[in-house]
Symmetry: C2
Subunit: 334 residues, 2 copies
């Protein structure tokens, strides 16, 4: 499907409009100073340990705006509801949307509801789109990058990662996908893994205030493996990460081993990866770690011009190429 | 469902943010000078006489932006695709999206694709959200209103219809809903009715250049009956229309009579109703009529402070109260 989108949809549409256009396939477009993004949420089941589709649909779209260096201004919320869907469940989900929006200081300003007959949808699908304005701290952030080296982009994006950058992960990876998968399939692991779904705008604003960030992205579908490969490809760099340094919770690691899933390929919904100029990396890291949602943040790698693609130094000291996932290893987790 | 949304969703959310906030339940919100709207399209079937879900999903969202007096800037496009959906059909639909967007001079700048398993969705659902900027001609339009009377709103909206305003319909009503219904149910009428789905931004820009428009709205779900009742309720006025003056194509009228459906309650996707100060109404009307998509435009009624609700003078000279439709008379037409 991604192949189809790249080849057909993007080509067919007028794809070079805006500062960050459709053809960039980034987390949000930037048009006339406005960050604009959309996501449809088809997660199954609708309620899961640590969250529900309401939390997800606000957090996911807020995060796609703020990784561009924008401050979320408003969201839309459109629901496709299967006839007979429980009104009580809908109320719970709307409450989640409301609470998550409040926690992110963003408002739902427009919406739509379509009811389709029984069997025409799987309970509930939610689309949220979002708009945002340039963060007050983005100019400062870019100035701090420019103290270290030449940096042209006006917005951090997938193509603006540079050789020498330090890669920071804002916390443990794999929790959302494993939470969904183990709950859905009823694997009954000893410890219940909770989703990390959460808006990251405050954490990101704090990091921008420090500055030196050249790119940010949340490792959702396809996980860290997909994210790093997108950066490597679009920024024409190589990225080396260290398996040792990757923050992964024990129960997630255990689950991944039992299920034969690579934690790098699992989607997250409350984590962000940042590329930062090395001189600022420690300060950005400690700022992130001072927040509860960033307490497990770690430096996981660095960017090089010596090779292309993504490479991992393994626990045993070996080297492994990290490929982008083929297909969707865990379907319907967002 | 509308009852539920009014009572629960709006109350639960922080609903008074923006110039035209969520609580206004208008066609688009206005936030920080940006018009912002969303719609999910669940039309069945996906292809129908006169259009397809691609045309609809661009036209519907473009129209919701421009009825606020805004110029569409960019759209998002998010697809939920059922596994096994025909790639050929998807290509046709993407081509429709592309052509319709070009005809409306608007770009798709961001998107999302989710594939769900067979049986979890009905082929294809599309969400488009849209953003727009204040039209260059809106200030002039409002100035022309103010020549006739006091007018405070900064944007035309559902609450800004005033006593004495003339109501203009931009063309024949009922075509989209009857096209969908008769094609879907295979009624086999002698004449095939075609959907009117079409972006109206050029027509609306032309009308704003003339000026004097106090409100605009496209009669989609619930048709003209719903639209006029929303205006009457939100603007605290009465609206009187003339059955004689209503532009309705013969084949639509015949179909409505055979099916026992009120043409006032049928959704349209390429029509707009305008409330205009009387001194400007003729000039606005002739401007609309000079465009192909507005050639059947007509003055259909006027606004009064003498009563509340919506009233129609019938062919026979009687009077009939026009109620808002109960439920959705024709499901899944958009």
């Amino acid at each position: 499907m991604q192949e189809f989108i790249r080849k057909f949809v993007i080509e067919e549409l007028d794809h070079d409009f805006g500062e960050i256009p459709l053809s960039a396939l980034d987390d949000a477009a930037i048009v006339d100073g406005i960050a604009f993004t959309t996501d449809s949420y088809t997660v199954k089941p609708l309620f899961f340990p640590g969250g529900d589709i309401g939390v997800l649909s606000v957090a996911g779209t807020v995060n796609d705006i703020c990784v561009m260096g924008a401050k979320p201004l408003a969201l839309s919320c459109a629901m496709i509801i299967e006839e007979g869907f429980s009104e009580e469940d809908l109320q719970r989900i709307v409450k989640s949307i409301s609470l998550t929006a409040k926690s992110a200081d963003v408002r739902i300003v427009t919406g739509d509801t379509k009811v389709v007959e029984n069997g025409a949808a799987d309970g509930l699908f939610i689309n949220t789109s979002g708009i945002g304005r340039r963060s007050d701290h983005l100019d400062h952030n870019i100035q701090m990058v420019r103290r270290s080296r030449e940096f042209k982009p006006n917005w951090p994006n997938d193509s603006s990662v540079g050789p020498g950058d330090t890669i920071i992960a804002s916390g443990s990876i794999g929790n959302h996908g494993i939470a969904l998968l183990s709950f859905r399939e009823g694997y009954g692991f000893d410890t219940v893994v909770h989703s990390d779904a959460k808006p990251l705008n405050s954490l990101i604003e704090d990091a921008l205030k420090i500055g030196g960030i050249t790119a940010m992205k949340d490792p959702t579908r396809g996980g860290v493996a997909n994210l790093l490969n997108e950066w490597a490809e679009k920024s024409h760099v190589g990225i080396k990460i260290s398996e040792e340094a990757l923050p992964i919770d024990d129960e997630v690691l255990t689950a991944c081993e039992m299920l034969g899933i690579d934690p790098l390929e699992i989607g997250n919904e409350g984590k962000v990866l940042m590329a930062v100029v090395p001189s600022m990396a420690d300060e950005v890291l400690s700022t992130i770690r001072s927040r509860p949602e960033g307490r497990n943040a770690a430096i996981i790698g660095e960017v090089s011009k010596e090779f292309s693609g993504v490479m991992m130094e393994t626990h045993t000291g070996g080297k492994r190429v990290v490929e982008p996932p083929v297909g969707d290893p865990v379907p319907r987790i967002c």
